[in-house]
């Protein structure tokens, strides 16, 4: 065994803030009050004034910075190395984007400040809109949705609104069994019944099956392209025709656009409505789970239904148009995650048209390289050419009783964040690997080397893999216990754990 990427080192322990807390410690100072103080009880009424906030922390400034600094070192991150989570497009987050998002005139812009004093922020939104339209080949886009899933909801509500206007919103949304969980969840929230359709033996849309399923009841199909196997849905245009013939619409989950930017445009292959994940394809940081941005792009016929407000150019000046009788309304207060939009635009400006295309090609090349190098060691249930990601199965290793989850944990000992485990569901014991364009050959070769070492370990000492990780400050975590008797907040102990 040769672990090349990491070595063991001391790692700081740290108690919870509540455990370090003691009365009187403070990390803040407020300016002296320049107006008379007010008695809360008089101003708000006795019954409305609370006693102190029970249990709230009291710590010093240095304790705050040490607390979060120490905790941060328990994390893995893109800034540490490759983060091959399939479907998550964990690419480098340019630091200049963080800087520009903090530009005073942008960060401190209040959503209700006069439009005359908001032309800069509106210009940024307009600029991003036009870039996204060119990239997707669609006709109109809303930047309001906060993330992919909300983009999906927005998109399905748009479909519903259009169909309703045509007289019947219909009942069903078709979703392939390879889809991400948010797709069915979204359809349900939008008030649709979900009908799963089986993928064919290649993991692709089954046109025949689709033909059958598309009845007058069907509002639309939600398809991810490239799909969650990383394979391009080659029959997408035909599928769109099937749907359109029956008056249904084609929704595309754009989570995998990192495989298409500059190469192919959904607007050119029959997609009626789609969302983008700015926090994937357009490099905005995941920040441990969010925030994101989920713009929704549509074809002309859906434009009247987009959320309010819409950006409108009035002569020299941008303004917001709220007078949109057919709009589905708002999906979120204000105009979207503006700070995320700034970062996405910065990414697009930095790359330019050719840079974006080059990134796509590197991402696809990296994924194909990994596939070629690992094919001899892991099962590849679906063998069509893949694009930005590749999905192996743990079939072979499962014979030694080692599952994808174990291999994932063992990768941690090798210094890598695991791939995506057990998704998509159509692959038994899925190992879903997406390197993105960010990774250098050096890093990718180390990753490949690690997985090969693990494949060999599984032959010789499967136990080591099944009980991994062994070298982290926290060994395998008992998730079952966590769910059985949930402890969801800290409670004072008789004797606090120190430190």
């Amino acid at each position: 065994m040769s672990i090349k990427k990491v070595r063991s080192h001391i790692s700081p322990n740290e108690a919870l803030l509540f455990e370090r807390s003691s009365p009187g410690k403070k990390a803040y100072q407020l300016p002296a009050l320049d107006v008379p103080a007010v008695d809360p009880r008089t101003a708000l009424g006795e019954q409305n004034v609370r006693a102190g906030i029970e249990g709230f922390p009291e710590v010093s400034e240095v304790e705050v910075i040490r607390h979060f600094t120490r905790l941060s070192t328990w994390n893995y991150a893109i800034d540490y190395g490759m983060y091959p989570l399939g479907s998550c497009t964990m690419k480098y987050n340019p630091r200049v984007n963080e800087l520009v998002a903090r530009t005073e005139g942008l960060a401190w812009a209040h959503p209700y400040q006069p439009e005359s004093l908001s032309q800069g922020v509106m210009e940024i939104m307009a600029h991003l809109e036009s870039a996204l339209l060119e990239i997707t080949g669609m006709d109109a886009v809303t930047l309001q949705p906060a993330a992919g899933a909300q983009g999906e909801l927005t998109g399905i509500l748009l479909i519903r609104a259009l169909l309703a206007q045509r007289g019947n919103p219909r009942k069903k949304i078709l979703i392939p069994d390879s889809a991400h969980g948010t797709n069915p969840a979204t359809a349900a929230i939008a008030g649709y019944v979900v009908e799963n359709i089986r993928s064919d033996e290649h993991g692709l849309l089954d046109l025949a099956a689709l033909e059958k399923s598309v009845t007058e009841d069907v509002a639309g199909l939600m398809v991810t392209n490239p799909n969650t196997l990383g394979v391009f849905e080659s029959r997408i245009i035909a599928a769109a025709e099937v749907l359109h013939r029956k008056g249904a619409l084609l929704y595309m989950d754009g989570a995998n656009m990192n495989a298409l930017v500059g190469i192919a445009r959904p607007g050119d292959f029959g997609v009626d409505v789609m969302h983008l994940n700015l926090h994937k394809t357009f490099s905005t940081p995941h920040g441990g789970g969010g925030p994101g941005g989920g713009p929704v792009a549509v074809k002309k016929e859906l434009e009247p239904f987009l959320p309010v407000p819409r950006l409108k150019r009035a002569g020299e000046r941008w303004s917001f148009d709220y007078d949109r009788p057919l709009s589905i309304g708002k999906v979120k207060a204000f105009y979207g995650n503006f700070g995320v939009l700034v970062r996405a635009l910065a990414y697009i400006l930095a790359h330019g048209g050719n840079g974006l295309r080059a990134a796509t090609m590197d991402a696809v090349l990296n994924a194909n390289y990994i596939r070629k190098k690992l094919e001899p060691f892991f099962d590849l249930p679906y063998t069509l050419p893949n694009m930005h990601e590749v999905v192996f199965s743990d079939e072979r290793q499962a014979r030694q009783g080692v599952r994808t989850g174990d291999i994932a944990k063992r990768l941690i000992d090798y210094g890598f964040h695991p791939y995506t485990v057990s998704f998509p569901l159509i692959v038994r014991g899925a190992m879903m690997i997406e390197p993105t364009e960010t990774e250098s050959k050096i890093e990718i070769d180390l990753f490949i080397d690690a997985l090969i070492c693990i494949a060999k370990e599984i032959q010789t000492k499967p136990e080591t893999v099944k009980t991994a990780p062994h070298s982290t400050r926290t060994s395998r975590v008992d998730e079952v216990k966590a769910a059985r008797r949930p402890i969801l907040k800290w409670e004072p102990l008789p004797d606090p754990v120190m430190p």
Partner: protein
């Protein structure tokens, strides 16, 4: 690498794409620009906006000071560039901070459980309503008009297609508080939830306790929203069944409307119907305390169409900012901060004539008399001051009124100017001297 893939050039990797789908031309986007030009571009955009203005806008987005430690912490790549902590052994940093976040939100709201963020206050409130419907197996929503109008709009968007009829109830024209008698009248056995916000959109503190009692009598749940989190530093935590709030006030830049962070907090017994991520405490194989995502069965990865929500990516980093903010201010600080906001707003009010008589925290409504709010704001802009939000847009009956907000960042001089601008006549005599100077 090309060789290993058996191709000559990267383009060859795309030959399997159907001819018809391929883009035959380069993207019509200008060539990439340098970092220096990018910084310059956004700086120039920023300069086109309001800069150096004193602002009295609140209405759901508040101008509070952002302690430096907040950006110091979130700038660390370990937090900024990590993914959702699915792999607990490699994400204890994020998991621990989320656990602390959940705890502090519970302490603030007096609830048993809090999730690790929703998109924002508006979607949080909508999801809380859906949650209430699941819990009561009823569909009706009774919503106070004094709830933030944009939150109401989002609520409509979410509820519309779930066959959940929404009924509005009035606010008291005198106090500005929700009219609970009107609510009681409109309440019925099909009502899943009564929805109020406190402080409400007019800044008035609602009588949530009474609202809850009324709601409960008819088997409805009381869902309370909040938009000004700093108010929790001084306001008694309401006895609601579900609380949905916006944390923008906790060191999140206004940033033209986002990203912010919403939360939902509730009672233990309702936890399994709560949407959003949850972190729980457990141990590792060595018995060390450890944290991990838990109760995921509520989420869409497992339940798919039966999930409590479709939310996946949330606002984790923003929630971390709020966590750092709460750590910096702590028990004493949040109280003092709230008291300063209270004092500033009441000083400003003392220079004016609030439209409503209900108790308010750091915002209140004023009538602009014979002049329109727009007219007054135009005058203030010349003094480099952004005035209050004209309310006509959301409340036709209040088209002669504006919503003014003061925070710890508001300067006395600016407030005096606003006072004069709004009513030169009486700007000197305080409205309610009795509550000033008493401690």
């Amino acid at each position: 690498m090309l060789e290993a893939c058996g191709v000559e050039k990267p383009e060859d990797l795309f030959t399997h794409l159907p001819e018809a789908v391929r883009l035959k031309r380069p993207l019509q986007l200008p060539p990439g620009i340098s970092e220096y030009e990018i910084v310059d571009y956004f700086r120039r955009r920023g300069d086109q906006n309001a800069n150096g203005y004193a602002s009295f806008l609140g209405a759901g987005v508040y101008g509070h000071y952002r302690p430096v430690l907040v950006d110091t912490v979130v700038a660390r790549g370990e937090f900024l560039t990590s993914y959702t902590p699915y792999q607990a052994e490699m994400a204890q940093g994020t998991l621990t901070t989320i656990f602390e976040f959940q705890t502090m939100i519970c302490q603030l709201t007096g609830m048993d459980v809090a999730n690790a963020s929703m998109y924002d206050g508006s979607t949080g409130l909508a999801e809380a309503a859906l949650m209430a419907a699941r819990l009561t197996s009823k569909g009706g929503l009774l919503v106070a008009r004094s709830v933030h109008p944009e939150y109401q709009e989002v609520l409509h968007t979410y509820a519309k297609n779930q066959g959940m009829p929404i009924t509005e109830f009035e606010y008291d024209a005198e106090t500005g508080a929700a009219d609970l008698d009107d609510m009681e009248r409109k309440l019925n056995d099909l009502t899943a939830a009564v929805i109020v916000q406190s402080p409400n959109f007019f800044g008035v503190v609602e009588d949530v306790k009474r609202a809850a009692e009324i709601a409960h009598r008819r088997g409805a749940l009381l869902v309370m929203g909040f938009a000004e989190a700093v108010s929790l530093g001084i306001l008694e935590p309401p006895k609601a069944d579900i609380i949905a709030g916006e944390l923008q006030s906790f060191a999140i830049s206004p940033s033209y409307g986002g990203p912010y962070a919403g939360i939902i907090a509730t009672r233990e017994k309702f936890a399994r119907q709560m949407p959003g991520r949850l972190v729980g405490e457990t141990t590792d194989t060595h018995g060390n305390r450890a944290f991990c995502l838990t109760l995921a069965t509520r989420e869409q990865h497992i339940r798919r169409e039966k999930a409590t929500s479709n939310i996946c990516t949330n606002q984790a980093l923003i929630a971390l900012m709020a966590t750092v903010f709460m750590s910096v201010y702590g028990k004493e600080g949040l109280r003092e901060l709230a008291e300063q906001n209270l004092a500033k707003a009441h000083y400003l009010a003392s220079r004016l004539t609030p439209r409503f008589s209900g108790p308010f925290f750091n915002e209140f409504v004023v009538s602009t008399g014979d002049r329109s709010p727009e007219e007054i704001n135009a005058a203030l802009l010349d003094r480099k001051i952004i005035g209050g939000l004209p309310l006509g847009r959301f409340y036709p009956e209040l088209s002669d009124a504006m919503l003014l907000c003061a925070t710890e960042m508001s300067h006395r001089e600016d407030m005096d100017i606003v006072g004069q601008a709004l009513q030169p006549a009486r700007s000197s005599q305080p409205r309610s001297p009795e509550i000033l100077n008493v401690h």
